[in-house]
């Protein structure tokens, strides 16, 4: 309950908590606190804050140093790279699990090329399959990795459930399997596959969708050379 006496004493509670109140005034305040639970509670709470003060260094009340702007970007980049590695491991297991499945029929056979003529655009290479049947879209993103090449396949418009087998064709003409996936209608996710062929040695990307085959040339000029993966399988 707030009384006239509370109002009189309330603003002395700070000085009281910091032991800065003259003796006489302190006695008066303590007498009030005896009979006033509200002011007692406020005093106890401020005493709690006051007890923390000696731990601080008043020379450090100025502006704190801010993290350098590059730090946030570096953390985001590291996490992004870690996330890609995780995803790759997961999808790799998935594609192994599916590789025994039966192929279903698809619609057309077509010839295809690549589009990628933007050298120096970064480590990823975009591959678009052209001259596809109406309503069908196939494209891929290739990214050089220590183990070979990571392939992200985007497929739309073919029959749902169609088994797709993906290969990378090396400069010598040999196909290296990149795994399999099934296209599901309505799924907007890309399938992430991997092939043990260095991107700089790749000549084409080959997709068997059901009993149809699509081939898109890979432009080695735009591929980032990866010296850890020289040999081409035979």
């Amino acid at each position: 309950m707030k009384t006239e006496s509370c109002r009189r004493w309330r603003e002395s509670l700070g000085a009281y908590a910091l032991s800065q109140l003259p003796d006489e005034e302190r006695s008066g305040l303590e007498a009030h606190l005896e009979g006033c639970p509200e002011c007692r509670a406020e005093a106890d709470s401020l005493l709690g804050v006051a007890r923390m003060l000696p731990h601080a260094d008043p020379d450090r009340f100025g502006p704190a140093p801010a993290p350098p702007p590059a730090l946030g970007k570096r953390i985001a980049a590291t996490i992004g790279a870690e996330k890609r590695t995780q995803r790759r491991r997961r999808r790799f297991r998935l594609s192994l699990g599916l590789s025994g499945a039966t192929a279903l029929a698809a619609a057309a056979v077509l010839a295809i090329f690549v589009l990628s003529d933007n050298p120096g655009a970064g480590p990823e290479q975009q591959v678009d399959f052209r001259s596809l049947p109406q309503g069908v879209t196939i494209s891929a993103t290739l990214e050089p990795q220590a183990f070979g090449t990571e392939i992200r396949m985007y497929v739309k418009g073919i029959r749902s459930g169609t088994l797709c087998r993906v290969y990378m064709r090396g400069a010598g003409g040999a196909d290296v399997s990149a795994g399999t996936f099934r296209y599901r209608w309505g799924a907007d996710e890309s399938a992430v596959l991997s092939a043990a062929l260095d991107l700089s040695r790749a000549k084409a990307l080959v997709v068997h969708a059901g009993d149809r085959t699509f081939v898109a040339p890979v432009d080695a000029k735009t591929a980032l050379h990866n010296p850890t993966n020289q040999e081409e399988p035979t």
Binding site: S12, G14, L18, L46, G48, H55, A56, R60, I75, T78
Partner: protein
């Protein structure tokens, strides 16, 4: 996995925007070195990201969780420094301020930065410099009673800010 877990890159970006300043400021204070502090903050967010599924806002605030991770990182860095041959040979223990004491100090210093200038000034003059109210009143050209009430409202402001910061007694 609990809702609110730190599982997306976006979550980490948001956590960074909200807490990196404080974590970094504290790391600099605690480690006494900007380079080490950067390393500590980076490691803190990476560990938070890797363990993101385990973060449960029902149990404690994100800030508390990040500081708990930073605590381990700082301790690990302290160990790494202690293991440096020069220190081992010289037999000199690195004088790293114990983490919890440093954290307490940091929180009050941070809270002091966040309260108003008038409140901070009055607490510095009367409490930290131990100057009599009458002297401070004359210097600031205000009645002594105003000094007293500013001490009161200054402590209250500090309490509010500490609560906002999620200070846990």
């Amino acid at each position: 996995m609990s809702p609110g877990a730190l599982t997306h890159e976006r979550d980490v970006r948001e956590a960074y925007a909200a807490h990196a300043g404080e974590l970094y400021g504290f790391a600099v204070r605690s480690l006494g070195d900007a380079g080490l502090a950067e390393e500590a903050v980076q490691e803190t967010f990476l560990r938070a990201w890797r363990a993101g599924e385990r973060f449960d806002p029902q149990i404690g605030s994100l800030r508390t969780w990040l500081f708990a991770i930073l605590r381990n990182v700082v301790i690990d860095l302290g160990r790494a420094r202690a293991a440096r041959p020069t220190l081992a040979e010289g037999g000199v223990e690195p004088s790293v301020e114990p983490f919890d004491e440093a954290l307490l100090a940091w929180q009050i210093e941070e809270a002091m930065r966040r309260i108003g200038e008038q409140h901070r000034q009055i607490l510095v003059e009367t409490y930290y410099r131990g100057r009599p109210y009458a002297e401070v009143a004359t210097e600031l050209g205000i009645p002594e009673g105003t000094v007293k009430s500013r001490v009161y409202y200054g402590l209250r402001a500090l309490r509010v800010v500490l609560e906002e910061m999620g200070y846990e007694d």
